[in-house]
Amino acid sequence: MEPRYGKTQELLYELKIEQVMRTDVVTIASDATMSELREILREHSISGVPVVDGDELVGLASIEDLIRWLSSREPDCAVHEQMTRDPECLHADQPLVHALRRFDESGFGRFPIVERASGRMVGILTKGGIIEGVLRKLEREFKEEEIRAYRVSHIFEDLLADYKEIYLTYNVPGKDFDRAGSASTRMKRNLKRLGIRPDIIHRLAIASYEAEMNVVIYTDGGTMEYRISPHEVILRVRDRGPGISDVEEALRPGWSTAEPWVRDLGFGAGMGLPNIKKCADKLEIDSHPGRGTTLKMRIFTGEADEAQ
């Protein structure tokens, strides 16, 4: 049996009580009545509450105390007459496995959780809370695992070939401002899924969006091709538009031929190409007036320790 529980056991050691305890603790004052206790338990669907006077934890009142009182048929009385005094507390920084052991040994249904340094109550722990906490953590780890399995480095390791790359293309319709940017936004999602480093995604996002918008604004359409290989991403943006007569000039910050209506939409600062240049490790612009423009940029994706 043991090995099957390996992962769960590991989690019980790894997780601290403070990671799974409830912090929005419902409490009751010691001079409240037992019928008030019944109402509170019912209202919150819980089976016990810490009894607190001011800041101080003085006891624990549970459904067991309530049943004992009900079956004794005594008149309504103050909670402090029926509660468990000086309840055993656990520390927020203890591993969950310790809490579980205490639940087993004591048979208690809940423990108030106190901060070790101040002794202040900061939460409450039930067996249900432990189950929830472990499941949450398992789910999170599962998701991370999924992303890791997607990671480019993994994909490339798993495929056997002398040369490997992922090739994705997008059509960019010209003058269509409603769909403008959709190639870049979709691509950004892919890059995240592929586990590319966030700072590199950021640079690719800027370069890609600026290039896409230029195709939308200045041409009747074009294509964007991404080639993702183990160490770099190459983005080639081609269009059959009017071309750029002086590339040098077009690269100058502030230089723009955008028409007034395009400027009204917030384009035309003449900063698109300079932004691309800043973000790409290598940029080549090949443009022929009347025939179109091709931008080729390369961004190296090496891990932080092998960067550039």
């Binding site: 936004t185 950004k188 600062a269 698109g272």
Partner: protein, 113 residues
């Protein structure tokens, strides 16, 4: 500072992305030129602008901005709201002009880039 705190403090109206106001705002940037925002806004920044066309949503997505505030009660286009909702970008409206709004945000402790 959480976006929801800013919405409450400056009495902003929420036009889209109401479920995503728990985002951390790390700064702010005011500009009506999209390429300027692409080049200079930092990730997690709140963007102050008077542009209402749906392209602003794509810019916010590409730059991972915390949200967009339209100034002077500018109403976003229908398509802008739809896209913002889809892309989970909070779209807010202020009655203040960009200068006053930026001043208030600066006063709350946010800075530029």
């Amino acid at each position: 500072m959480k976006l929801s705190e800013i919405v409450a403090a400056l009495d902003l109206e929420v036009r889209a992305g109401a479920d995503h106001l728990d985002r951390e705002v790390t700064g702010a940037y005011a500009s009506d030129l999209l390429s300027d925002v692409m080049g200079h806004a930092s990730e997690g920044a709140l963007w102050i602008t008077l542009q209402v066309h749906q392209n602003i949503v794509a810019v916010a997505v590409m730059k991972s901005l915390a949200g967009i505030v339209l100034v002077k009660n500018r109403e976003p286009d229908e398509a802008t709201m739809r896209k913002a909702e889809e892309e989970e970008i909070p779209l807010l409206i202020s009655s203040l002009g960009a200068f006053e709004l930026a001043g208030k945000l600066f006063g709350m402790g946010l800075s530029g880039s």
